[in-house]
């Protein structure tokens, strides 16, 4: 198995920040209807930064692991910085990705962007 998968498998087996927040400031759901993947991202925002984050969802290992990794990456970060993140930030954290599965990887990032767009 290729190396990037170790990251994915590790997050798939031990998801970080999985669950729900009480009274989140941001709460978004994004889905890939073609494959049935769903990711929900919730944020608690304080002084323009991500104070706390949770994700939840179902679907393939890649989408769920990417969501878990993303929550680790954004915790404590200022929203204005996150708004500038391109796809490559998440892709390189995963150590590359197979092009047939880009949609799965980017699902949580799409959810995050949707949640930030109104702020």
């Amino acid at each position: 198995m290729s190396p990037y998968e170790e990251v994915i498998l590790e997050h798939w087996r031990n998801p970080r920040n999985k669950g729900r927040l009480e009274a989140p400031d941001v709460d978004v759901v994004e889905a890939n209807p073609l494959c049935g993947d769903v990711v929900r991202v919730q944020l608690k925002v304080r002084d323009g930064r991500v104070e706390d984050v949770r994700f939840d969802g179902r679907g393939c290992a890649i989408s769920q692991a990417a969501a878990s990794l993303l929550t680790e990456m954004i915790k404590g970060k200022p929203l204005c910085e996150l708004k500038g993140w391109g796809d490559e930030v998440l892709l390189s954290a995963l150590g590359g990705v197979i092009k047939t599965r880009l949609n799965c990887v980017l699902l949580p990032l799409r959810a995050l962007r949707k949640g930030l767009s109104s702020r």
Binding site: L9, L34, G36, I62, I98
Partner: protein
């Protein structure tokens, strides 16, 4: 018995590697690989005979026309039909759209019913949905039994005097189920309904004689039966084809044209507007030669052996759910399954890393997946170039996937 080694030597792509691993191609249900004979026939046409058909007065055009019509005759013989009953289309999807449009115009009015099944590929569902909406007709779905067979009792109830069309797949591209078309034909004909059969998964894999089937219209694709993409077939009973109005209009399909009106060409040309896929039709003719030389009975036996081995292996693994009839004889060469709690896309990606190509998704059958209450499934499908060793490699790889993700 098919000599798989000799067959494989005819398929250049089977020699290729994927990331250094030998390709194991288990997705012939989506599209089959092509033998050298077909690839060369297409190239030879462009190199030696290329011209438009039915138009030129020069020798090259006459030769191209002979090759094109020769392919029609081969396909006709292959399915037990007369050449004028064989309409070339671009594929099953176009053939079914043609049928839904033309049959709709000729036979379907507001309040009529169109009977379909929950196991249809979208290609044999959406054209009927569109027709129903256009004419104010009603779509009447028929379900399946828990074993994944068509519910024939329900079908018998649904096919009433209001039914003008019964549209059903011969072999399900997900469940693998072989539907008893002659029996369904009797039900349809008893009430005067037209039986339309999607044979995309049957003609490539089973001996099919359209007269024995008893259907009125039958559609299939060349690319799933060793032929090129972009060529398909609609077979129809001659009287019915003569009754139906054309679908696409323009050149070739006319007899005489005035500024305000036109008369139609005879069948099958009435349904072949514009320049047809000439090289592709010729390639399909060669594909049919290839299948005939092996014998469709033998092709079926080979598929069955592989599907039976795969089924047995899958059913023996407690982390696997298999969809469709458990008896291999009740199926074509496809097996759909899931690994408990694992998304099918992950299974396909991990198998791909070992060079094994299977399909994962909804296989253009979303209503069926909704009914099975799964977002998607994995599907392995077999053809005459697959080996028992490949089936075993696939099963062993599944165990490794389960170890990683289960």
């Amino acid at each position: 018995m098919i000599d798989v080694r000799a067959v494989r030597a005819d398929f250049p792509i089977l020699e290729r590697k994927v990331d250094g691993k030998q390709l194991v191609y288990l997705d012939s249900g989506a599209t089959s690989q092509k033998p050298r004979q077909v690839i060369e026939a297409v190239a030879r046409f462009y190199q030696e005979h290329n011209a438009n058909v039915h138009r030129g007065l020069y020798q090259l055009a006459a030769a191209a026309t002979d090759l094109y019509e020769g392919a029609r005759a081969k396909v006709a013989r292959f399915i037990g039909a007369a050449p004028e009953e064989v309409v070339f289309t671009h594929g099953t999807t176009e053939a079914l759209n043609l049928v839904a449009y033309s049959l709709g115009e000729a036979r379907v009015k507001g309040g009529d019913e169109i009977v379909v099944t929950v196991m249809e590929h979208h290609a044999n569902l959406i054209p009927w949905q569109v027709l129903a909406r256009r004419k104010g007709a009603k779509l009447v779905p028929v379900g399946i039994t828990p074993e994944g067979e068509l519910d024939l009792a329900e079908l018998a109830d649904r096919v009433t005097g209001r039914a003008k069309v019964v549209a059903v797949t011969h072999v399900s591209n997900v469940l693998g189920t072989i539907n008893p078309i002659p029996e369904i034909a009797e039900l349809a004909h008893r009430v005067g309904a037209v039986l339309v059969v999607d044979a995309a998964q049957s003609v490539p894999h089973l001996p099919v004689d359209v007269r024995e089937l008893g259907a009125d219209l039958v559609a299939f694709s060349g690319h799933k039966m060793l032929g090129p993409t972009g060529i398909g077939v609609l077979w129809g009973r001659r009287e019915l084809l003569e009754e139906l109005p054309p679908f696409l209009t323009g050149g070739e399909m006319i007899r005489e044209v005035w500024l305000e009106r036109a008369t139609w060409n005879e069948v099958p040309y009435k349904f072949e507007a514009g320049t047809p896929p000439i090289a592709q039709a010729i390639g399909l003719g060669v594909a049919v030669d290839y299948l005939s030389s092996l014998g469709m009975e033998e092709v079926r036996r080979h598929d069955l052996r592989l599907a039976a081995r795969a089924l047995e292996g899958l059913l023996a693994r407690d982390y696997v759910s298999v969809y469709g009839p458990p008896a291999p004889e009740a199926r074509g060469g496809v097996v759909a399954f899931n690994l408990r709690g694992v998304h099918p896309h992950d299974v396909a990606t991990l198998l791909d890393q070992e060079g094994i190509a299977i399909r994962a998704g909804h296989h253009c059958a979303q209503p069926l997946h909704r009914l099975l209450d799964i977002p998607a499934s994995c599907r392995a499908s077999f053809y005459l170039y697959n080996t028992q060793e490949e089936v075993d490699a696939f099963l062993a790889a599944l165990d490794r996937v389960w170890k990683v993700l289960g």
